[in-house]
């Protein structure tokens, strides 16, 4: 197991390196950030000064080398826009996205798993068919559209919740969260539901497929032959087996939501990492974009590893890195 972990970490390192080079170069080709930052009336001399200041007059490979040297110390440079440390900018915004992603996935699981199990138990019943059609709706509707519709219904027409922004936060050590107070929750619920619609549809599908696959297995019939109560057959024998794919996919989706909630954060003006990312791309704020993407790659790779380890804990037949 340890060998596999080390191998994974090394592989991640290579991917991060390659990806950072690609993004670095890509953003270089997008445009000249100096033009964005300097006022339109600035003279060429002033622009040159800015360029020299930021080290943008050096050749690309040298810029990249300097960047790498600093990156290893977790210094990704300062934002072209605000001058703040790129790393700090990202970390500042992380709690907002963290609570959004966590609440969204929580809702998806709590709603999706029971619905999926039901759809798997009685696939031809009317409720099950409705659930499946609903799930098609869930993942086909574009994210931003769902957000807009929710805003229109709950914020504009009914006025129950505000239409955007984050609510009041409470400090939990170094992290500021708005999840645990009522006002904060009101702001959080719509963006979380927007994300949850699509993820819930996915969880329903996975759960239903897993249920359909597990139910006809001999061990379910054998459990009934032993005279176990139906709720034990479903709640223990079935659940333990379907949890494997559900947790695996759920974990990976959590990572995707956490890293890339760009659209939802834009629609709801949610001050999270995703909004930071898109603003940085549009503003050609290269340090922030590169820092963000590198952190994301590392995070997702680690998450993959955690999910794989979790898989071996859930399914006693599997040993990580060893014989299948």
């Amino acid at each position: 197991m340890l060998a596999t972990i080390i191998r994974r970490i090394l592989q991640t390192g290579v991917i991060v390196l390659v990806m950072s080079a690609l993004v670095f170069a890509a953003l270089y080709m997008i445009g000249d950030p100096v033009l964005m930052m300097a006022s339109p009336e600035a003279t060429d001399l002033e622009r040159e000064a800015i360029r020299r200041n930021l080290g943008l007059d050096r050749p690309l490979w040298e810029q990249y080398g300097i960047f790498l040297a600093k990156a290893v110390q977790l210094d990704f440079g300062n934002s072209f826009l605000t001058g703040e440390s790129a790393m700090r900018l990202i970390l500042e915004r992380m709690p907002a996205t963290l609570e959004l992603a966590t609440l969204a996935m929580f809702i998806s699981m709590v709603v999706g798993v029971p619905l999926g199990v039901y759809a798997g138990l009685r696939p031809d019943s009317l409720p099950a068919r409705a659930i499946m059609s609903g799930s098609v709706l869930g993942f086909s509707l574009p994210n931003f559209w769902v957000g807009l519709m929710l805003i229109m219904l709950f914020a504009v027409m009914l006025g129950w919740v505000p239409a955007g922004g984050r609510g009041p936060v409470e400090q939990f050590g170094p992290v500021a969260l708005s999840l645990f107070n009522w006002e904060g929750l009101k702001n959080l619920i719509l963006p979380a539901m927007t994300i949850a619609v699509a993820k819930c549809a996915l969880i329903i599908r996975v759960t239903r497929a897993a249920t359909r696959e597990c139910l006809p297995q001999d061990y379910i019939r054998f459990a009934r032959a032993k005279g176990l109560r139906e709720r034990r057959v479903l709640g223990v024998h079935l659940l333990k087996n379907i949890m494997i794919p559900i947790v695996t996919i759920g974990g990976l989706e959590y990572g995707q939501v956490f890293a890339f909630a760009v659209v939802t954060e834009t629609v709801f003006s949610w001050p999270g990492m995703g909004k930071l990312l898109i603003d940085s791309i549009v503003n050609l704020d290269r340090p922030v974009v590169v820092a963000y993407l590198m952190l994301t790659v590392v995070f997702l790779a680690m998450l993959n590893l955690v999910v794989d380890i979790g898989y071996t804990l859930l399914d006693p037949r599997v040993r990580l890195g060893g014989a299948a």
Binding site: D218, R224, N241, P316
Partner: protein, 331 residues
Amino acid sequence: MTAANGAAGADLLLDIQGLRTWFHTRDGVVKAVDGVSLQLRRGEILGLVGESGSGKSVTGFSIMGLVGERGRVQADRMVFDGHDLLSASAEQMRRLRGDRLAMIFQDPMMTLNPTLRIDTQMIEAVQAHDTVSGKAARARCLDVLRMVGIPAPEARLKAYPHHLSGGMRQRIAIAIALLNAPRLIIADEPTTALDVTIQGQILYEVQKLCRETGTALIWITHDLALVSGLADRMAVMYAGRIVESADTAALIRHPQHPYTHGLMASIPSLGTRGQPLFQIPGSTPSLLNLPEGCAFRSRCYRADAQCEQAPQLAEVAPGQWASCWHHGVQP
């Protein structure tokens, strides 16, 4: 409906008359079991023989009430240990299963849940029917494991199913069946998936256990030779019906039904060495479209126009029942 062979009604453990289990599928009605009658006394061992698709497994599931959603089970009579299985509620059936009435399945690989430990799966079988503490349940499990001859039972309990060999897993399945001292065990091809050497061992052990505990057994198999060494009585099934049933000795020595003749002839022995293996010509008819009359008609060497009418199960010799217009021993 004719009554099958058997003793007087009063001390029958299992009395089935006219069992029909039909599956309603998109392509039509599959008559997996189409008129089966069986009777079993306490402590008796019955061998239920038939090829794939003959309905023997479905018969077992029908008795247990595990047929699945698409199947409809009907019978004129189905009584087990004084309980009327036809009118029993789901909860009553659940209480019988695993307690008075146990089942052993064919494939030991998939019978046990791969994500749960052996002790979990055994203790839950005890606690589903008896309010005993976990400790007492575990003690009972250890007793039963020793009874089936499993060495180091404490270690086995802590293991997961995939740690054990096929033969070991099947022994554990047998142990689970014996946990609550059932009156009847239905064993659905329990040794088919195991090595030949283990087969013989398990057969012997099961027979010993049944004799010792006085448990009745229905051993479902396609292997007529195998079960003849074990059973008191045998019943042969074809296309969802019982075509012949008799005491083992009688069936082996003078089989009456042409299908049974075919089965006996298919068994290779020292005498047939060097000759091509015998096969009953043709193949099993699709259960969706059973022909009118006798289902064996298309493959039978004695068939004629009379066979277009379905024969009934009748006592053709003392204690021996067959359903054929042309019954009679092979010349």
